[in-house]
């Protein structure tokens, strides 16, 4: 039973990684850039929800919606101000800019909200648990909410990209921007939309993360951001199902490493697994084989 409960915790943590990884993978798929500021958008989302629910005592759902709206706008603004002017620049310039934006967000948070940890008020009351098998297995409600959110988001996003006109346009842009323009697709607007979706999801991830681990500081988003990036690469960057698989696997590995090996080394084990996967499958588990143009 302890195994099962660890597995469920792992899937729940992995669900958060998966939701964050979606932002990395979608932006990479379309803009071909790694948005290292993505993790810090999570932190901003968590702070917004924190102030809404704790300081202004709004109901959790309002806090979440507010966080999503603010992060969506933040994502669009970041893209417009920091990345769009670099559309034709070498990727290294864009990468360094992304790291710069990441530091900017962390320091802005430090300035605005100080380094004192805030105690996040979970969106479902702490201690609410569901017990199964005559009390042998006890799962917290937030764990289940997290997993359910991840499933809903995955289904919604897959439907969006495979069925809707804008979703298909996104896929077209990610394959060939020039040809997409010839179809009449506005590539800049599509990139903005991608950032908007990714950042909105980051807000949800932030709220879920802080509901499970309630300490909120300006660097809260950094480590989960890096882990989710790892998950995205692990699953195959650019692939939406890859983000899901990579995220869940990473979460499960991390929790098992913590439970059965050692807490201190759990991060090292996560990254070691990543290295092994990339050695065997350089494109990631579900990554597309890169075809060389002849």
């Amino acid at each position: 039973m302890t195994f099962l409960s660890f597995l469920i915790s792992g899937i729940s943590l992995g669900s958060i990684y998966a939701i964050i990884a979606l932002g990395y993978t979608m932006v990479y798929g379309i803009a071909k850039m790694l948005n290292f500021a993505h993790g810090d958008v999570i932190m901003v989302g968590a702070y917004i929800c924190f102030f809404a629910t704790s300081r202004y005592e709004m109901p959790p759902i309002v806090g979440i919606l507010l966080a999503v709206v603010v992060c969506t706008i933040l994502g669009i603004v970041i893209e417009k101000l920091a990345y769009k002017p670099l559309r034709a620049a070498p990727i290294l310039a864009v990468l360094i800019t992304a790291i710069g934006v990441s530091y900017f967000l962390q320091n802005a948070a430090l300035l605005l909200w100080s380094s004192n940890p805030k105690v996040f008020k979970p969106i479902v009351p702490t201690g609410s648990r569901i017990t199964l098998f005559d009390g042998q297995l006890s799962i917290s409600v937030i764990t289940l909410v997290t997993i359910a959110s991840c499933i809903v988001i995955m289904i919604a996003l897959t439907t969006f990209t495979s069925k809707s006109k804008m979703g298909k346009a996104m896929r077209a842009c990610s394959e060939d921007k020039g040809a997409a323009q010839l179809m009449g697709i506005n590539v800049n607007a599509t990139i903005s939309l991608t950032f908007a979706i990714g950042s909105g999801l980051a807000a949800i991830a932030g709220v879920l993360l802080c509901s499970a681990y309630p300490t909120l500081v300006p660097t809260t988003g950094a480590m989960p951001g890096i882990k989710a990036f790892t998950a995205a690469v692990f699953g195959g960057i650019g692939s939406i199902p890859g983000a899901l698989v990579g995220g869940i696997l990473l979460g499960v590995i991390e929790i098992f490493a913590k439970a059965y090996i050692t807490t201190q080394l759990s991060d090292a084990i996560c990254f070691a697994v990543l290295i092994v996967v990339l050695l065997v499958k350089p494109a990631g588990l579900l990554g597309k084989q890169i075809r060389e143009k002849v």
Partner: protein, 236 residues
Amino acid sequence: MAEILKVDNINVYYGAIHAIKGISFHVDEGEVVTLIGANGAGKSTTLNTISGLLRSKTGSVEFMGKSLNRTPAHKIVSQGLALVPEGRRVFLQMTVQENLEMGAFTQKNSGVAADLEMVYQQFPRLKERYKQTAGTLSGGEQQMLAMGRALMSHPKLLMLDEPSMGLAPILVEQIFEIIQNLHNAGTTILLVEQNAQAALSVADRGYVLETGKVVTTGSGTELLSSPEIKKAYLGG
């Protein structure tokens, strides 16, 4: 006949390279006009400039009396100008039908089903494969898909960039048959080809390009029988 496209003295650069040196030409409604010339003569560059992917430093591109000089590429297709790009550039990971739907991106959703039917009628092979991803199609089928995709936008002028490139002779024949059919149905076509023989046989008029300049112009039959053209482009 009304002039549909007017290209006037355009100059296009790739960095320091002066690729197009003051090209001017026009296309009238209902015509098939071809630009022929060797590799690097500036044929594709000209088409990419008309469709807004590249910009001209000077001169103007006018389509149906309106200047396209400042129109972004994604707004040009809704004006009635479609380009089938060199190398086809279909969306390989999307299905045949999704590719065609992308062609109709600027169209009202209500008309798409009928347009799909129209394209499938013209290219029955595409109908057989509508669920397959474009990457699984042969080169000839991909060319048909790229053409069908462009037709989905109801173009007033269809621009084809090297439609026969890399295709087996029998498929080249098929592609030119399709071009002839489109012409007979009244579509205005601007055709860029290295296969000068085939291009000139379907074209009303042709322009011969050499290192970024128009060197000769005339009707298709005139150019086909001109001794210099024969020597330079038609293999003697």
